[in-house]
Symmetry: C2
Subunit: 336 residues, 2 copies
């Protein structure tokens, strides 16, 4: 462990055996629509509340990932999961019937990076044969939790992002599969003093820049060694900021940079303001588009960096800043 | 990894180098008062809001643990932390200035068990020289988050527990220190259909019983091999339930059982109804009383099982049940 580093290069590299993405109707109509495993037209997913709908999303993604990875459910030793809702209730109720030991996580929208990081640590240490890493978000449950009830019909500024209704789940195993995880870089809390909960891209960009710079430094590589550097949900405002912040530190990621929030909706036609956001945004883009490109060998090595904004309704109402956090995962093709 | 097990026995056993406990005035007046590192008479901890007070609690416990373990702060590679508040804001703002990579956790009041479990995995896998595991709760921020504003002055039933104002922090290292962690058992979500948020002992007892039984089965040992089996915050109602539930499965833990919630307040004089609760309850009892007894050799081997109730204001208001989860950590003296 070199001092000042925050990364791990795995000797035993965990393999991604399978991944599943389940989304709502709006995501299904977007540019990645054809790549998702399941698109549900009923945004309540047959349930009575938005929270139950989000639990159902996680449940379906988990079941589908197990099917796609062709792993018997009892062989999965641990779940690493969380969501955006207070006390992670989408996860608690969504994964109840799994009957698998759970490490509950909170990393705001960086959760997919955090869950893959901890899952990879456990796998590479030899403490499990299989683990599942997953997360979710739902537009309506998130609006209710963080902003206004939908019925209020508030106006949204251009810097606001649109929380993705979706859940992504990944099964890690020891061998085989479609991709492997070769390293991780764990993020610190970074606070640039942003206080506008309708401009979370600006709040999260400093954390993304910090983690990406740390990754490049720890592994002593240049941005061009990645085919893509993929942030979670910075959106339009945050994309410019993260590129600028890294340029100030001497790293040019403009060519490699991709933001899941800018991939998931059609900017011209879907009225999603600055882009998509939420834990589900990075998770479903990973479990559809990103892993497919890696599996097909079009991208050999990518840095997946979901980004989280650390706020609650209470902290916002009390005038607190919105710190950010970002957790990076190095994903490589099987034949690298 | 044997199928059906949920435990790890560590070959490289992480050592507890130091631990710190910071509490509020009520906890300071209780039976463990003399054992806490810091008792603050101002329940707002010099801050403007209850949430900031809770952040200050975590910050102080973290700083004190670093001092007591005599580890340079930059050598601590990861923080494993969380709290009870929506979006874990006590942690986000309390640990901001630490500038150490953070894995944010949500395990409700089982968080100290979860953080010690993940911290131990990372240590025993050789991915860090030092890590810090911590959590907190605050009576006033928890009442506001889960029940009623304090100003409302609601009556509390006899089954209600009193959220502990306190934070406990533990530094793990490779050698030396006051105790070691020899194993863990990770809990599943367990739901017995309890819906009363003023009776969380009953909601959590089934999860505690499940994890304790799993631990005894996985390690093939009897309850009497532990000097103490220590649940987090079951209180009076939950204590009876966990003993009864385990007896039904053929395990008698009555002699060994101790509940942190029943240790922290004086039942006759302190008016804490069924006992103490909250993430901080198990954490500060561990970091004061439990670790002292282990260090002094009075207890050679204990099973520390913090228990969490998985609910939010929203899930409660929507009529959901309150599932529980419990994470067990086997703590042994250095000279065992």
């Amino acid at each position: 462990m070199k001092k000042g580093t925050a990364s791990i290069a795995f000797k035993q590299q965990p393999c991604i055996l399978g991944a599943a993405s389940v989304v709502g109707s709006k995501e299904g109509e977007g540019p990645l629509g054809k790549l998702f495993d399941q698109i549900e037209q009923d945004d309540k997913f047959g349930k009575n509340t938005w929270e139950e709908a989000e639990s159902e999303l996680q449940k379906r993604a988990a079941q589908l990932a197990i099917q796609k990875a062709a792993v018997p459910k009892p062989a999965i030793r641990y779940l690493f999961a969380g969501d955006l809702l207070g006390q992670s209730i989408a996860t608690s109720f969504g994964l109840l019937e799994m009957n698998i030991p759970l490490f509950g996580l909170y990393g705001a929208c960086s959760t997919m990076g955090e869950s893959l990081s901890l899952g990879s640590i456990v796998m590479s240490a030899g403490y499990a044969d299989y683990v599942m890493c997953l997360t979710s978000s739902h537009f309506a449950s998130a609006e209710k939790e963080f902003r206004f009830p939908l019925e209020y019909g508030n106006q949204r500024p251009a810097s606001a992002t649109w929380t993705v209704t979706g859940s992504g789940a990944v099964i890690l195993g020891k061998e085989g599969g479609i991709a492997k995880i070769s390293g991780i870089t764990t993020g610190k809390i970074v606070d640039y003093g942003i206080r506008d909960s309708q401009n979370m891209g600006a709040a999260m960009a400093p954390a993304a820049a910090d983690t990406i710079a740390q990754n490049l430094k720890d592994f002593q590589i240049k941005p061009c060694e990645y085919d893509k550097i993929i942030t979670g949900d910075l959106g339009k405002v945050g994309k410019t900021a993260v590129i600028d912040l890294l340029r100030e530190q001497g790293y040019d990621i403009e060519k490699q940079h991709m933001d899941c929030g800018l991939e998931i909706y059609n900017e011209q036609q879907q009225n999603a303001e600055a882009g998509g956001s939420g834990c589900g945004c990075a998770a479903v883009t990973l479990c559809s588009y990103v892993l497919r490109m890696v599996e097909e060998g079009k991208w050999k090595k990518v840095l997946f960096v979901p980004t989280g904004a650390l706020l609650s309704k209470t902290s916002f109402n009390e005038g607190q800043t919105i710190p950010g956090i970002a957790h990076a995962v190095v994903i490589e093709g099987k034949n690298v």
